[in-house]
Subunit: 518 residues, 2 copies
């Protein structure tokens, strides 16, 4: 049933057509930095110790079809989502209550919270906060016959290190280029045309968000040294060009100086000066120093990155500093699954607490897939009924609450799994209504190979939000929003997994939207 | 002695400094398409059958030093050189006399001439001609103490397939970027600064040359089908991104459609229509046809590319067509070494024939390194004296006249080599005064490795020239120039070869100029 949403797609290419498309795709992508460093499976590390090779980033050959109404729906709630999450991040007490419930079951959340408490005790050195968010959705096909048979449902909301903004602009341009050189057969012109292809402004908009924060810092904190934006990165990063697009745009379009600093070198290369200003001393620049206006986290977001006290010290060091954090710890915590769950629990009062505009709140609500706790609350008891009934459980997925850990349990496997677990452990999981995305055909070019088959798409909409916390008696109680704008989109596409001999599941790629009216 | 021209350069980097520079160089180059497909020595072909990998093009870490006066001198004669060579290409009788002397010793020239004669017999279908030229120079250090101790001397003049215009703009931008992020230690700031770094407009200017020719064709030949510029390319091209930069600029900035066609597929994929218009039918586009406005040769320039009658048929096919050739056969022939030689023979009357402006002619003359024939003319007899005297021969190189063939004989080896040759074979060679370029230090990044040492530089200045031949009784006799403009520069840098353990000779790279007043 769900397969029937889209028309047959993509067209079947002759060998000459596919060669023409691929040659153009391969050359354009490298000329425009739509690239990644190759995996070690593609190029063994000892063959390229300098890591000087690159290859086309995993991309779809065709822009995937996407319902225009769903695309519009996701964009329409972008600012409201930034409004919501910045409000949550600026409500220390409320967030504290949520976190409290997780302390027992999630070390990572616990450690983040400890960092927050330590900084809070000392007092905050910076009230400006920057969020570069990405709200991820899938199209959900409901089994009702109503007008709203198709809608987007939120998969997750990212408040830290939202990636692919750099490549997303590029892949949309790639698909537009391929269309312009007739790489898509004329038979597709009713689907693929100038009006249906969607550009993504993610590079200029995300860079603009960072630039605005940088300028706000310079204005209010009056640096004594040249100011810079610090990209906090992982030691080895295959997706470096994605990040570089933002850096170069900051340099070129905004005249903002940037540096990349490995998370592992934070304590070595930065120090706190007067007023806890974050001072960066690049080891390569013989003693020259910069004052950091914004720390942009492209590392330090996953539990696996914190392997010693030193890593936590580094995080606390940054959090203590007067630099604007993108994001600060409270914003990072606001992005935890638990927050998503309490917002999306049926009949939850929380959304109204943060979003006073009823119409905006209703629009957000429509993008929630219901999420239930498995505790002994009213909603929790309701959920336990659903999860233990083999018939009802078909529509759900069971997810561990812990950040970044454990596997999901799907549909009919849920009742059995819960039976095997003592009831005291049930609250460590949440029950989420499955999003039923429509599949379609496409082909993905990755590691020099083409795989064709059924795919599913995930749409991310970026938002940039700059706000200033209001601190009363050392507690963050609300904020004033200075900037809040949508910042482009990302389409990620992967194998549907169910089809045989097609695109392998988890075989992901960057993509762009070919909108259609359904 | 020649080593003493430049100040000590480049600065010695600490390991941290070199790492910082290289990381920035590697990331920037891929993000901006300053790239090549890797050699098979770097990545074996079976590891990447799809040819989807790319790497940084061979580049220098630092912009090489170059005397400002020499840079200005080379640019100042750019338009005069285009004037000269377009005049030569439009003087069929004069060129015929030159070619006649080569027919015996050079098959390639002979075959090109045959193509010309066949087309001439039939009558020319297109009078518009496009030249995208590159005049290559080295700085010459004379042993006199005069003011003009440093000057540029011409190495060669390219009338076909002048490459690296795409990458040249990019490498100049790379060096400027590295400077802007302090990758060059402050100690170099007297040498490397915003004023000394030289951008190259080769991408926009060469693309503009092609666009002007395209528009002139559309205006005068009124195509019946959509018109396109055809890039004639080799089957396998590692330097594809260099060419793609021009294509994409043509597409984006000028709205001109381009296609790439392998020289080996000319006869399969193109045909001559009414008025010998060149019709291109891409095999990938199910029967759609384009009318070719301009054939831009990035293949078909070397003797080794013509291996069968079919290759010559393909060349004739294009030459017969109504497309504007960049270049036409007469222009291709005008670039032969013999032409350079007769122009640069001391006391030659030929320059004055083509350049009536005495002051422009004198400036060109100053860029010629004297070249002598070894025949029985007056200049030839003078040359024989120089070449057989072991002392005098020190300042010369002996080059075969044949295009693209044979090795050069240097300095003291010349007299012995000539002794071993019957005198009747001597006219197959020319004697050229050696250009004595100053060396300097630099480092080259290539195939993931850095090599440091003494290097020498070759400066190329691009020129774009569009003209209309005047044909009288079926013979090209003069032309009217429609466009003539300088089109950026290229600096190529290679190991000086003489230094031990340094950059290997022939280890070439693209570079940009850091001008200095000497």
């Amino acid at each position: 049933m769900t397969n029937a949403v889209y028309p047959p797609y993509p067209p079947i290419l002759t060998q000459a057509e596919q060669e023409y498309l691929l040659t153009n795709l391969k050359d354009w992508s490298i000329t425009h930095g739509l690239a990644v460093r190759p995996t070690s499976a593609y190029v063994a590390e000892d063959l390229d110790p300098a890591r000087a090779l690159a290859t086309t980033a995993p991309v779809t050959l065709f822009p995937s079809l996407f319902p225009r109404s769903c695309f519009d729906q996701a964009r329409a709630v972008s600012q409201a989502y930034s409004e919501l999450y910045s409000a949550i991040a600026a409500d220390e007490e409320w967030l504290g209550e949520i976190v409290k419930e997780l302390l027992e079951i999630d070390d990572f959340i616990e450690n983040l919270w400890k960092v927050h408490l330590a900084v809070k005790k000392e007092g905050y050195a910076q009230s400006l906060q920057l969020g570069l968010f990405r709200s991820d959705y899938m199209v959900h096909v409901s089994d009702s016959d109503s007008d709203s048979r198709l809608s987007v449902k939120q998969v997750e909301f990212n408040t830290i290190a939202s990636s692919f903004g750099g490549l997303s602009s590029q892949v949309a341009s790639l698909h537009r280029y391929l269309h312009s050189v007739d790489a898509y057969p004329e038979v597709t012109s009713l689907l693929i045309n100038d009006a249906s292809l969607q550009s993504s402004g993610s590079v200029p908009q995300l860079a603009s968000g960072l630039a605005k924060a940088h300028r706000a810092y310079v204005k209010s904190d009056k640096p004594n040294r040249p100011a810079c934006v610090l990209f906090l990165v992982q030691d080895v990063e295959r997706n470096v060009f994605d990040q570089r697009h933002l850096e170069y745009t900051l340099n070129t379009d905004h005249g903002v100086r940037t540096f990349r600093l490995a998370f592992s070198r934070v304590l070595q290369d930065t120090s706190l000066g007067h007023d806890r200003k974050l001072i960066y001393t690049p080891p390569s620049l013989s003693g020259k120093q910069w004052e950091v206006s914004v720390v942009y986290f492209r590392a330090g977001y996953a539990p696996t990155e914190y392997n010693s006290q030193r890593d936590w010290d580094a995080r606390r060091h940054i959090e203590r500093s007067a630099a604007i954090k993108c994001p600060g710890i409270l914003t990072h915590l606001a992005g935890s699954k638990k927050v998503q769950q309490v917002l999306a629990t049926p009949h939850s009062p929380h959304l109204a607490r943060f979003l006073h505009d009823k119409s905006a709140a209703d629009k957000l609500l429509a993008t929630f897939a219901p999420i239930y706790p498995l505790d002994e609350s009213e909603a929790g008891l309701e959920a336990r009924k659903l999860a233990t009934d083999p018939q009802m459980a078909q529509k759900y997925v069971l997810k561990p609450q812990r950040e970044g850990g454990g596997n999901n349990i799907y549909r009919s496997e849920i009742p059995g799994f819960l039976q095997s677990l003592p009831k005291t452990k049930w609250p460590a999981y949440i029950l989420m209504e499955m999003i039923e995305p429509p599949t379609q055909g496409n082909a993905i070019f990755r590691n020099g190979e083409v795989q064709s088959g059924e795919v599913i798409c995930e749409l991310g909409v970026y938002g940039a939000c700059l706000w200033r916390d209001k601190v009363e008696n050392g507690v963050v109680k609300g904020r004033g929003v200075l900037e809040n704008f949508e910042a482009g989109y990302l389409l990620r596409t992967k194998g549907a997994g169910s089809s045989e001999g097609g695109v392998a599941a988890g075989f992901g790629s960057v993509d762009s939207c070919c909108l259609l009216d359904l």
